[in-house]
Amino acid sequence: MKSRVLVVDDDPALAEMLTIVLRGEGFDTAVVGDGTRALPAVRELRPDVVLLDLMLPGMNGIDVCRAIRTESGVPIVMLTAKSDTVDIVLGLESGADDYVVKPFKPKELIARIRARVRRTETEPAEQLAIGDVTIDVPAHQVARAGEPIALTPLEFDLLVALARKPRQVFTREVLLEQVWGYRHAADTRLVNVHVQRLRSKVERDPEHPEVVLTVRGVGYKAGPP
């Protein structure tokens, strides 16, 4: 079954080119050119990945991103013309999983999209725990003391990567490779922002984390099981 990609972009030429490239790579695509129509399209089409341009008429990309996140954990990859820290961090904080800066190479974009949809592989039955947080890997469920916690697929992947090797310290670069699928070094802010988002959901007190610990100067590791 082909993965469905929803392209939200107001530039018709770029949207058409994206469609050509994505179809060539074996994806199904749908295009909406307006921010306000993005959320209904997500509801209706249930895409596997949303490709979202940050500069949109009607409703800007950041708001679209937030709106989608309120009801769906669908992977979102931002397209941005700005590589300013503020814009990217803002985009990631509003719920995007990854981003590509225009102008990007088609291969780069495909790699990002594949990294987000590759999770459909079947996984062995596996139960993990960090402190009182339990992770049911095949069911994609996380709970603390029996209370289920809703995580996006990316946050789930991040938590699982850390929980699978409890004593190992992960550098940001290693996490980028394992969770985001970057072959070579990329923007470590991705990791920082998503660790913050993950903490805000799984930690009792995000200021004093117990599940995802920071190892200063190196990276992150899971808290004691």
Partner: protein
């Protein structure tokens, strides 16, 4: 000594102090001269009046005595009593007619017999000096100033003497006027003058101080405002009151400040407009460029199916798009750096990892040109830096070195001390010529002889690197000799916000190279300057 220096500093700095002290010095001189003249004048007048009165007194006294003593023989026995009586009468008659104009006096009568033991005298003859007696003995009236004994104290006195004719010879008649009351008067005048003078001086100093203050205060205020203006508080203006010279100064100053502010504002607006334009253009170009890029890549991916000319075209399209993209990215980056919106994402960073990553990024370029890379990268060096920016700087430096190395080895050295970390990139290629020193970090600057630019550099790489270094509070410096190669050294503080003072690595020829060319002192022959202090980094390429 220190006091003298401090005083000198205060003297130079305070106009008010100088005016007050000058006023004080000049008016002291004036008051002294004036006091002296007044005192002399008063003393002279008092003495003259006393003298006139004394002469009148002695004249009338002498006339009286001549009548009374006409028949007295001074040499006879009992003359003493006669003389005493005569003197008493003289004194009494004076008392009877009220206080004599010449004031209190003592009278002396003596027989003219200087040196004779048998001299008969009435009154304190011992107070009369001998030269006065000599003059009187010669038959003339004489005046002397001397001292007389008054209740055991010597007081100055005016002495006047005159011979008095009697039947049996001349008598000496003296009147002694003690001047103690005149002396008191003069003393009073003197102390009055001194006190008055001092008060006058103090008043003058006070007045000078107040007046100077009136002038100096607005000037000081103006100086403060001007300093604040110079510090960038462009809204500072002088308060203007009245229509005097100071108000005019204030108005002119305010006009000047206003026009400067206006010009600065225009320049800033112009600069901001230009920067925003660069930024907007870069942004607006990105979306169509993305489409073109993707289209080109689709063509390129199927180039095997195309005719040779079309195939080559698609290849050129893709490589040139790469350059175009790099240029656009650099333009956007430099416009962001110019606008001052670039942020330093500083974090504890393993410098070894960053430099290795940068080197790996350009290793392909080195392999293509056959340039050996010699790395000297110790591990365990951590610094608070923005890893993306540092990686970009090092990448630019190494790519630049490979470009100009002529396939000779390029060395990359990392080192640190307690305060700073340095990355040094050395090539042994064409080097730098004199005069290129100040140009190497300029935007779009190229060396005159156009060489193959394998890295396809945009011409902005080193300019961005300098700005990135500046953002860290670091230095990026260049050094080179024609034919010997060039050295670029990046120095960054270990902790964010620290001020650099030195670099852990020397910028200059290699130690063994220095020996070979006979240079004992590794002084850079070309100008270079730290980046951190606002001076554009020198050096050349």
């Amino acid at each position: 000594m220190e006091l003298a220096i401090a005083w000198g500093a205060v003297w130079r700095r305070s106009l008010q102090l100088r005016v007050v002290i000058s006023t004080l010095a000049l008016s002291t001189a004036v008051v002294l001269v004036l006091g002296f003249v007044i005192q002399t004048q008063i003393a002279g007048n008092i003495l003259q009046a006393k003298l006139d009165d004394a002469q009148n007194q002695i004249e009338s006294g002498a006339a009286l005595l001549e009548r009374e003593l006409a028949s007295v023989d001074p040499n006879r026995e009992g003359a003493q009593g006669e003389l005493n009586n005569a003197l008493d009468r003289l004194t009494n008659s004076s008392d009877a007619s009220g206080t004599p104009a010449a004031g209190a006096f003592r009278a002396v009568l003596a027989t003219t017999a200087i040196g004779a033991n048998s001299s008969v005298a009435a009154g304190p003859l011992e107070d009369v000096p001998s030269d006065l007696r000599q003059s009187v003995a010669d038959g003339a009236r004489a005046v002397r100033y001397g001292t007389v004994d008054s209740q055991g104290v010597d007081v100055p006195a005016l002495m006047i003497g005159q011979p008095v004719r009697t039947a049996n010879g001349d008598l000496e008649f003296y009147l002694l006027f003690p001047l103690d009351s005149e002396q008191r008067t003069l003393g009073l005048v003197q102390s009055t003058l001194i006190v008055g003078g001092l008060v006058l001086l103090l008043l003058l100093a006070g007045i000078a101080s107040i007046i100077t203050r009136q002038v100096v205060r607005p000037v000081r205020r103006a100086a403060e405002i001007a300093e604040r203006f110079a510090d960038g508080h462009l809204d500072e203006r002088l308060p203007v009151q009245g229509e005097d010279e100071l108000a005019r100064l204030g108005e002119s100053y305010n006009e000047m400040a206003g026009s400067i502010q206006e010009q600065i504002r225009q320049l800033e607006e112009f600069g901001a407009l230009q920067r925003r334009f660069t930024s907007d253009v870069s942004h607006e170009l990105r979306t169509p460029l993305t489409t073109v890029r993707m289209a080109a890549d689709v063509l390129y991916a199927s180039r095997e199916e195309l005719l040779p000319a079309l195939r080559r075209s698609s290849e050129l399209l893709v490589t040139e798009l790469d350059r175009f993209e790099a240029l656009l990215g650099d333009l956007l980056e430099i416009s962001r750096l110019d606008a001052g919106v670039a942020e330093l994402g500083a974090e504890r960073t393993d410098m070894h990892t960053v430099v290795v990553r940068a080197v790996e990024h350009v290793r392909g370029l080195a392999d293509e040109t056959g340039t050996p890379l010699e790395l000297e990268l110790p591990t365990g060096i951590y610094a608070d830096v923005d890893p993306r920016r540092v990686e970009r700087i090092v990448r630019n430096l190494v790519a630049n070195a490979i470009d100009h190395s002529e396939a000779k080895p390029v060395q990359v050295v990392l080192a640190a001390d307690e305060h700073a970390v340095a990355v040094l990139v050395r090539d042994h290629g064409v080097g730098l010529r004199p005069g290129e020193a100040s140009l190497v970090f300029n935007r779009f600057w190229r060396a005159e002889e156009s060489r193959a630019r394998r890295s396809g550099g945009t011409g902005l790489g080193l300019s961005i690197a300098v700005e990135d270094a500046r953002l860290h509070g670091g230095w990026l410096q260049a050094w080179g000799v024609p034919g010997e190669g060039a050295v670029f050294r990046l120095t960054l503080p270990l902790n964010e916000g620290d001020v650099l003072e030195s670099s852990p690595l020397p910028l200059g020829p290699e130690p063994d190279t220095a020996r070979r060319v006979g240079t004992s002192v590794p002084t850079p022959p070309l100008g270079f300057a730290p980046v951190g202090d606002g001076v554009p980094a020198g050096g050349a390429r």
